[in-house]
Symmetry: C2
Subunit: 221 residues, 2 copies
């Protein structure tokens, strides 16, 4: 009997960001033929608290873990995959076919994580009509009709910083609902539009500051 997931409320943003890590580890166990896994093992592998892992899994697993034996690996892989929508692909467009855009466009890896980038857009006329992998590059003017025809809701921005807002505006006008932004600028969007920023300078600031602190504390002793 599959458990009714009544409290899906407990799956927060931070839980959500850990789920792909669980998925990756547990599906590796699956290919290795391991049948069960405990929260303690997952936690140890990902450097997390076992209680946290159990709470996270409680929110997505259709079956409870069993005392003494832990979680059934095959079921867990299915449940996480299901929860994250890894089985049904979300389609996306990408705008800005520079070096980063090319990587994202040609890397089919994302299809394992539920995202299929179907086409790239660029304002550079030289790129129009060419193919990267099996992805076509189209002029910006084609965006609206394509997005509407395919009902695409996700847009990826990989243009230079100073063009990001204009591209964002165009995406919103075309009907895009969620934007994955690789430019280092805050985007202004209407309330109902989602934005996820990928901010390397922010990551770097955290890392290098931690480093400076740890060096200081070590030289102090």
């Amino acid at each position: 009997m599959s458990k009714q997931n009544t409290h899906s409320l407990v799956v927060t943003k931070s839980t959500l960001s850990r789920l792909p890590l669980y998925y990756s580890f547990v599906s590796r166990l699956q290919t290795e033929g391991v049948s069960h896994v405990s929260s303690a093992l997952i936690a140890q592998h990902l450097n997390l608290n076992p209680v946290l892992v159990r709470k996270d899994l409680a929110g997505v697993s259709s079956v409870e873990g069993k005392p003494r034996t832990g979680f059934e690996v095959t079921q867990l892989v299915k449940d996480i995959s299901n929860y994250l929508g890894y089985n049904k692909l979300d389609e996306a467009i990408l705008v800005g076919v520079g070096s980063l855009g090319r990587i994202l466009l040609t890397n089919t890896e994302f299809e394992n994580f539920g995202l299929k980038i179907v086409v790239g857009f660029d304002k550079d006329t030289n790129l129009w009509g060419i193919q990267l992998g099996d992805k076509h590059i189209l002029p910006m003017e084609k965006m609206e009709s394509l997005v509407q025809r395919l009902g695409i809701r996700i847009g990826i921005i990989t243009v230079p910083d100073d063009q990001a807002q204009a591209v964002c505006d165009q995406m919103v006008k075309c009907g895009i609902k969620a934007i994955w932004n690789f430019a280092f600028v805050p985007l202004k969007v209407p309330e109902n539009i989602l934005v996820k920023n990928e901010n390397l300078p922010s990551s770097l600031a955290v890392l290098s500051h931690q480093l400076a602190k740890s060096m200081a504390s070590q030289s102090k002793q």
Copy 2:
């Protein structure tokens, strides 16, 4: 009189990740010749709470903001830049000169954020000796002597997932203290080594799940 920054404790990880955003906005104001800025304006631009901005700035600014006039732009740029170490470059090595590695290696943008990647390593013999921008590519065996000679403490991992742990181990052996990891695998490191993971699947999970939720709630009405 410069304020003694006694409570630098208040600068948390999340504050740290917002500082580059403040910096980017405020230094743009500076180039535009704006002399003062209020926490409200910064907050509005970045979609944050003004109180949060004031608290963040209190932790890094050498001078208090003035009621009615706000913060002096030039001073603020200096202070944030100083706090984040954007004036003195941290040197780093990069391992894995694939498509992503190339981008990071050739993008001098990071030097504005205090990081200078000095050299790339790869196990592919065809890459040895070539230059990308002004960065040489060296064989892995040269890592230890170079890291030690230059006293480098930051390593960037851009190899395929299944090689990341081995590269990480080698970095640690060479004396690297902080690792910026672009592979989607958890790295095992000794206690005193810092790791910052750049996890696209985690970001994606958050975005696409929010999207699914928002679509569901809209169709419900």
